[in-house]
Symmetry: C2
DNA sequence: GTGAAAGCGCTAACAG
DNA sequence: CTGTTAGCGCTTTCAC
């Protein structure tokens, strides 16, 4: 059982002084006799005094805790982001409470609610793939909570955002495939309403257009990032009269699955069909052939998000421009193309 | 800016009653007029009242926050454990504060210190690979903090522990290699002082002994789980007059590196040398040939740890047997053997 | 320099 | 059933 915790009153009693003086000594208040301070500090050490952050938080109305809302910590992408956030805000003494939504908008909502009650000092949020209703985060905004949105961002709110290099990523990758002589390039996209998916698709379309390649609606498939969706898409494409000679995807996980499916069908990669991904997940370097992919640096995304949060926290009463930070990437060419 | 937060006093004033009554109404205390309660609840909703957990925590001396100390959230193993913990304790309304030590005993110590100040209700701890001094966690124990140790456990403290199937894992794997006709089986181990590494090595030795295979000290290499250590070990083994015909490792990451090194040297896997891992990390299914490995279920380890924590938290004044839970595993045979 | 008192938001006796 | 009082641990006026 957690026994009685040492308080400033204990120190005060032992020293025969008032708790105010102890408080002053402990908080480096100048109005305190050096001798007294010395005695207090010593006694604090002797008694192993630990300040009670709850009491402090109650007074200052802050917890030095930040809420981090993510879909799934087991995805390397989010794990790296979390790591970046922690390292960025940890320097300033902020702790992070991680809450996973498991891609459920409902759980996301509950998590935000719960962390709001816990009085976190701010939120760093990445929405689920299915979040369409942003009332919850708008409520946070109205209440004045410091907010940063990343990866799957909430538009229309004047808050800092950090996103991946969506448009450029697919533009560059598609361009690369075209340079490799591919003519019928399929796209494995994400949910239609997701901004990141939209932008990546635009990058893909833009590259096609610039190279005078006609757009074939048959060659675009929307997924919810689920394995089943990928299988359906690949089957459909392979059954086409004129199947694709390349498949680019907006996420590495999908690309890896595509490669496995093609392999099991006896389709040669990249001989028959080239495959490209997005993200440079750890998996992309392990599969064979290695996956050509547009590298993202999720750790840096996390750091950028963390820094934005610190900015807001610092100048609480100042203006923080709701700038959107795009984390640059680069094409990593491997055997799959 | 976060404006004035609504308190029970605001509700009380609006309704012209005392704050005690409001408190009672809100906490489902039976001693309150149903009509009054209704009015309070309505007003609370109207004003969008949010209870202040800090004030509550101050009184009850609890935060419903748990500290989770891990080396690195970017390792799939730890990410899965964290996920398991969160899902287990989340049901009971506990939140988790994740702190990464980055494998630094010093940072581990600081993290524990910081979370202690934040008054978390308990700790779930996995030490760094280099932690040898357990004073910090012993101090926590003395102070009466609910404690659960997992994966890299702290021995000698009567607290619940959850570990992987260390001995069996390497015993089974080694046995499997012997059945495949391998005679000179090398072992890529971890730091000598790590209990998990010791047990796995014992499993390896036990299998050799039972099959009448002599132990060759040359064939055992200790690493700090670093890539450089692995390279040194592999080089040494390949330079041997009689090189190994199999390499088993106590962690998948090492096995994957071994495979890559062997491949780059033109050594055939499993033709010349078979390779086996431990953990069944996502990577083990992606490399080629697929890595034979002893599956662990880190998510379940996390769940078990979380449940132990809830047990302690529940019967704070009762006895919680410091049982050690071994999360069972099984051999997953793939192409590498 | 130091002590007494008020108060952060809330619950929990204690009186009615 | 409800209001008053005290107090969780601490900081911060306000006196002296």
């Amino acid at each position: 059982m957690k026994g009685h915790q040492v308080t400033i009153i204990d120190i005060a009693k032992k020293l025969g002084i008032s708790k105010s003086t102890v408080s002053r000594a402990l908080t480096n208040n100048p109005n305190v006799n050096p001798e007294t301070r010395k005695a207090v500090l010593e006694m604090a050490k002797t008694l192993d005094y630990q300040p009670n952050m709850l009491a402090l938080g109650l007074i200052k109305n802050e917890t030095r805790m930040l809420g981090v809302i993510i879909p799934d910590i087991q995805k390397p992408f989010f794990a790296a982001i979390v790591s970046g956030i922690q390292h960025a805000v940890g320097r300033m003494g902020y702790r992070t409470i991680i809450a996973q939504s498991d891609e459920s908008p409902q759980i996301e909502k509950e998590n935000i609610q719960a962390l709001m009650l816990s009085r976190v000092d701010g939120f760093l949020i990445c929405h689920t793939r299915d979040t369409r209703n942003f009332d919850q985060i708008k409520l946070l905004y109205q209440k004045g909570f410091p907010l940063v949105s990343f990866a799957r961002i909430c538009q229309g709110l004047p808050i800092p955002k950090v996103v991946e290099d969506d448009f450029n990523g697919l533009y560059t990758t598609t361009q690369h495939l075209i340079e490799r002589g591919r003519k019928r390039i399929a796209l494995l996209a994400g949910p239609k309403h997701l901004q990141a998916s939209k932008l990546r698709q635009q990058g893909y379309l833009s590259a096609l257009r610039q190279n005078g390649i006609g757009f074939d609606n048959e060659l675009v498939a929307h997924t919810r990032f689920l394995a089943d969706d990928v299988a359906v898409a690949v089957n459909r494409w392979l059954a086409l009269a004129e199947p694709p000679d390349a498949i680019c995807t907006i996420y590495d996980g999908g690309a890896v699955q595509v490669m496995q499916l093609l392999k099991s069908r006896g389709v040669n990669v990249p001989g028959d069909i080239a495959v490209a991904g997005f993200g440079n997940d750890p998996a992309s370097g392990l599969v064979e052939p290695g996956l050509t992919t547009f590298e993202q640096r999720p750790y840096e995304i996390g750091q950028a998000a963390g820094k934005h949060m610190l900015d807001i926290l610092k100048k609480r009463f100042g203006d923080v421009p709701p700038e959107i930070t795009i984390s640059e990437g680069r094409l990593v060419v491997r055997g799959s193309t």
